[in-house]
């Protein structure tokens, strides 16, 4: 494998990881844009999502690496798995908001953020105590088709991940930009009070943001499983922190920013792992986080929100 091939290979890996981080970062950005809340429960909604997906796939008879499917059965299985996971996680997010965060909406200070840390811990430990801390083999029903790009290898699963992530993000962009509810969402992010007076049901908008964000996190959890062929209860923390870094890098509250940030972080992780050392990847990513916050707190695409005083 030549240097160029190695680079291309890491790029392919990085963009795939990045697609996953982008989906996860969108959830942070949507909720932050409206509530100015860092939602730590998002970390483990992602993790729960990967286990839900595992359960759904197994329920459809897709186990481990043994089941390989093609054609319509494959498409069907994928559509059902994504839909079920996303709906489950979306509802989970809405329930968390409705019962645990909404009562704190008008409480100043870190109360809501602390609650999300608590929720994250509860989700993590419910999985730990029921399913356990072991790694679980994640099904890979895709046929082993690969394409050679020079010496680098592009697998079908990466193409699938890119396609799904693009579809989801395209759908979100359309929703936010061109639907009535999307417009209400943007208005609420700008000024909830004014939006409410213009007849926007702010609470419904927030629940929608939680639903979409959590659903995308669930999709991210499924993609994690497909990409690594493996899942465990501790995947939420690292992926979540990286996705949050991605959201900040792109400009928190900014939807295209989160997508861009995710891909950048994914590529950095792959390149850092490929050229430097895997064990230092986290240090590199956190350093980027700190550097962005210090040098350009608004992120790459974001505008600094006016001080709400």
């Amino acid at each position: 494998m030549t240097d160029t091939d190695f680079f291309v290979q890491q790029l392919i890996n990085g963009v795939s990881l990045g697609a996953m981080y982008s989906l996860l970062a969108l959830g942070f950005t949507l909720v932050y844009g409206i509530l100015e809340l860092i939602n730590f429960s998002h970390f483990n909604i992602f993790m729960v999502g990967s286990f839900v997906a595992l359960g759904v796939l197994q329920a459809m008879g897709v186990f481990g690496q043994a089941t390989v499917m093609t054609g319509f059965p494959l498409i069907g299985v994928m559509v059902v798995a994504f839909a079920a996971t996303m709906v489950f996680c979306g509802i989970l997010g809405v329930v968390i908001y409705r019962f645990l965060l909404r009562p704190l909406r008008h409480v100043k200070g870190p109360a809501a953020m602390i609650t999300t840390i608590g929720v994250s811990y509860i989700l993590l430990n419910v999985i730990l105590l029921t399913i356990g801390a072991d790694n679980h083999n994640f099904p890979n029903p895709l046929p082993p088709i690969t394409f050679a790009i020079g010496g680098a290898v592009l697998r079908l699963r990466e193409i699938l991940i890119w396609v799904i992530a693009t579809l989801l993000m395209g759908g979100l962009t359309f929703f936010v930009g061109y639907t009535k509810l999307g417009k209400a969402m943007r208005a609420t992010a700008q000024d909830p009070e004014a939006a409410r007076m213009m007849g926007v049901e702010v609470d419904r908008v927030i629940m929608t943001a939680f639903f979409i964000g959590s659903a995308l996190a669930g999709a991210g959890g499924l993609i994690f499983g497909l990409y690594y062929n493996d899942t465990s209860s501790n995947i939420g923390f690292n992926a979540g922190l990286r996705a949050f870094t991605a959201a900040v890098l792109g400009g928190i509250g900014n939807v295209p920013g989160a997508m861009l940030g995710g891909v950048i972080i994914g590529v950095i992780e792959a390149m850092g792992g490929g050229y430097l050392a895997t064990e230092w990847t986290d240090v590199i990513i956190f350093s980027i986080l700190v550097l962005v916050l210090v040098v350009r707190p608004a992120g790459l695409l974001g505008r600094l929100a006016p001080n709400k005083s």
Binding site: P110, T115, V119, Y121, I122, D282, F286, V290, P297
Partner: protein, 669 residues
């Protein structure tokens, strides 16, 4: 519920004064803690109490950062790790340089010893535990400042995530730099502390006493700081950063101080903990540990010194006694009924689930924790509330003293331009306030009045121009520097520190005029003591300006006051900064005509004492009564200036307020 139990327990002793009861309680507690290892001879239990002490010190440190200063630090365990590895590396057989003459003097004072493991002579570090404690505090505080400096100017929630990142990096470094830390396997053979040649060994009792002493020391430090100028400034930052800086609190310095002190507490605890455990692995310092400490602080009560200690002890007992005991009981029950599943139950494993539930439940139902930091003072009785209003006198005011009638111009705003994006909020505005004068700024909403105040007090950045205060440029200074120079203000939307009392709010105003240092606050030297009582007297003098409007309410939290009283507190707080010029932003907004008149009188008497005043006001009768000069702003430009009567009839002013048609109607009439 807690109060109910406390009241019930306290009832038989109700005849003993509260202060004395507290002292007695403290004495009993101290005696019990001191004799606990003697009456309860169980090494495991003493050990878990020693652990509880370590957690309590961590909780006390995090409480300074989160509870006092309101900075959410999610990577607090990093500082714990720094202290632990400092002592670990400097006593374990991990880093062993080759012996040379350089080490001989260090060996003479007992910091190193020569060892031989076959081969050349090597250096073994033998740093004394008692030196390591303060050293770790200093090193951890240094890292606190290093981590804090780039991030503390960020918004609070960003700080949380950055500290979380730092909290992750430190264990990663510990894991990866295995030549120094022995990586994931952890340090081995950390030296036990020695006292006068006697080694602590592995018995839990000596560690218990060291831990208790550490907790006692840190409680003492926490309380002393809390009740000082520094503690008040921290709480002001927690309540409202912008108001705190406008009252002269140096945000960066005080936040860094909180971070450094919190880190120092954790560093010392790290030394203690690793000496007790005699090993250190990266797992001891990860995110779960930071969260656990946060749970202790939240459970006990953010900002409550005794609360967080209680929180730490409760959680430790929950883990080591209650859950274990309950699990054993369930397992025995399982044996009895022949259920395998019940025999397997281990509730200790669910401790993190319980942490999560505690966080959520406390936030939803009891955000102030088990022992709230602030006790709600009972509201005034009906009679007290409706007592005849005494308008207050100005007899105490002579002691304001610092603002004699000065000559020349107090404030000169020259050609100031402020742009927000495409909007020009102030366009080449010129304003002169002569020393000892009263100048009013009026103008329709959105004309730039509050922006003008924000520029003068350093809260908003100006694009062009210059602002001279008694001849010195203040444009570009930090808000706290401007406050220190003698510019005090109130805010249009009232920015008090809602959870502090009236008295505390006014005391924060004096921040820049007091000088008690960190050490002075802890040691409470005579000078600091005298300064503190002077500050309190001065605060009471100012509060007395408003007669019995505020005086009976000094111990009440300001968020329970009426709107008019909150405005009065804000003016009192501004006066407490000993200003040369007072900027009042719509001081009578929301007051009824009688209250308005009363306040106007009070402002007039402040002016009579020599205070220069710049006032934004909509009520023209107030303006006419007070101002020597009126400046009218519209769309960011000065459209008129002059005596109140003149300005009232000015064409441009009438147009700005009423529109062209109405202006013509007025002129025709």
């Amino acid at each position: 519920m807690v109060e109910a139990v406390m009241t019930a327990l306290g009832r038989p002793f109700a005849r003993i004064p509260l202060e004395r009861r507290k002292q007695l309680g403290l004495l009993l507690l101290t005696v019990f803690i001191l004799i606990f290892p003697l009456i309860h001879d169980d090494d495991a239990d003493i050990d878990s109490m020693a652990n509880a002490a370590a957690y309590a010190t961590l909780a006390l440190g995090l409480n300074i950062v989160v509870g006092f200063a309101g900075l959410l630090d999610l990577g607090y365990a990093a500082f714990f790790a720094i202290g632990a590895y400092l002592y670990g590396i400097l006593t374990a057989y991990q880093v062993l340089p080759t012996w040379s003459g350089f080490w001989t003097p260090l060996a003479a004072v007992g910091l190193v010893e020569k060892i031989n493991q076959g081969g050349p002579d090597l250096v073994h570090f033998t740093l004394s535990f008692w030196i390591a404690l303060p050293l770790a505090a200093v090193v951890a505080a240094f890292f606190g400042v290093l981590f804090g400096a780039p991030t503390l100017r960020l918004r609070g929630d960003y700080l949380a995530i950055v500290t979380l990142g730092f909290g992750e990096i430190v264990p990663i470094v510990a894991r990866n730099v295995d030549s120094v830390t022995n990586g994931a396997a952890g340090l081995n053979g950390v030296q036990a502390p020695k006292l006068f040649g006697w080694s602590f060994g592995v018995s839990a009792t000596p560690y218990y006493y060291v831990g208790v002493a550490l907790v006692a020391f840190l409680i003492f430090v926490s309380i002393r700081l809390r009740d000082s100028r520094i503690g008040r400034a921290w709480m002001a930052i927690r309540e409202d950063e912008i108001a705190a800086s406008a009252m002269g609190v140096n945000l960066v310095r005080l936040k860094l101080l909180a971070f450094a002190i919190g880190a120092a507490f954790a560093g010392m605890t790290g030394v203690f903990y690793v000496a007790k455990l005699q090993t250190a692995t990266p797992e001891l310092f990860g995110f779960p540990v930071s969260t656990m400490i946060l749970v202790m602080v939240v459970l006990g009560g953010m900002g409550s010194v005794w609360g967080v200690v209680l929180g730490a002890v409760i959680l430790q007992l929950l883990q080591s006694w209650f859950l274990k005991g309950l699990s054993n009981w369930i397992n025995d029950f399982g044996v009895m009924v022949g259920s395998d599943w019940l025999q397997q139950v281990d509730l200790v494993r669910s401790i993190e689930l319980i942490f999560g539930i505690i966080l959520v439940v406390m936030m939803l139902f009891r955000r102030d924790g088990l022992i709230p930091a602030t006790r709600k003072t009972a509201a005034l009785t009906f009679d007290a509330q409706h007592a005849e209003v005494r308008r207050g006198g100005f007899s105490g005011l002579e002691s304001i003293g610092t603002h004699e009638n000065e000559t020349g111009n107090a404030l000169e705003v020259k050609n100031v331009v402020v742009r927000f994006g495409g909007l020009t909020a102030l366009n080449k505005v010129n304003i002169v306030v002569p020393a000892g004068g009263v100048v009013a700024v009026i103008g329709p909403n959105g004309s730039g009045k509050s922006t003008l105040f924000n520029v003068i007090t350093g809260l908003t950045h100006a694009d062009e121009g210059s602002i001279l205060f008694h001849g010195a440029e203040i444009l570009g200074l930090q808000p706290h520097q401007i406050a220190e120079a003698g510019v005090a203000r109130t805010f249009q939307n009232i920015r008090l520190f809602p959870n502090l009392t009236v008295l505390e709010n006014v005391l924060v105003g004096q921040h820049t005029r007091l000088s008690t240092s960190f050490a002075g606050a802890i040691l409470r030297l005579p000078k600091a003591k005298a300064e503190e009582s002077r500050a309190r007297r001065w605060a009471l003098d100012i509060i007395a300006l408003f007669g019995n409007r505020l005086s009976p309410r000094i111990m009440q939290q300001v968020n329970g006051l009426s709107y008019a009283n909150r405005r009065r507190v804000e003016i009192a707080r501004a006066l407490a900064t000993r200003p040369k010029i007072l900027l009042l932003d719509e001081p009578t907004a929301g007051m009824n005509p009688a209250e308005t008149l009363e306040l106007a009188e009070q402002i007039k008497s402040l002016h009579a004492l020599g205070l220069t005043i710049l006032i934004i006001e909509h009520k023209l009768d107030v303006v006419t009564k007070l101002a020597d000069n009126v400046i009218v702003l519209d769309h960011g430009e000065k459209i008129a200036e002059g005596l109140p009567e003149v300005v009232r009839r000015d064409d441009a002013v009438l147009t700005a307020y009423l529109g062209r048609a109405a202006r013509e109607a007025v002129n025709a009439a």
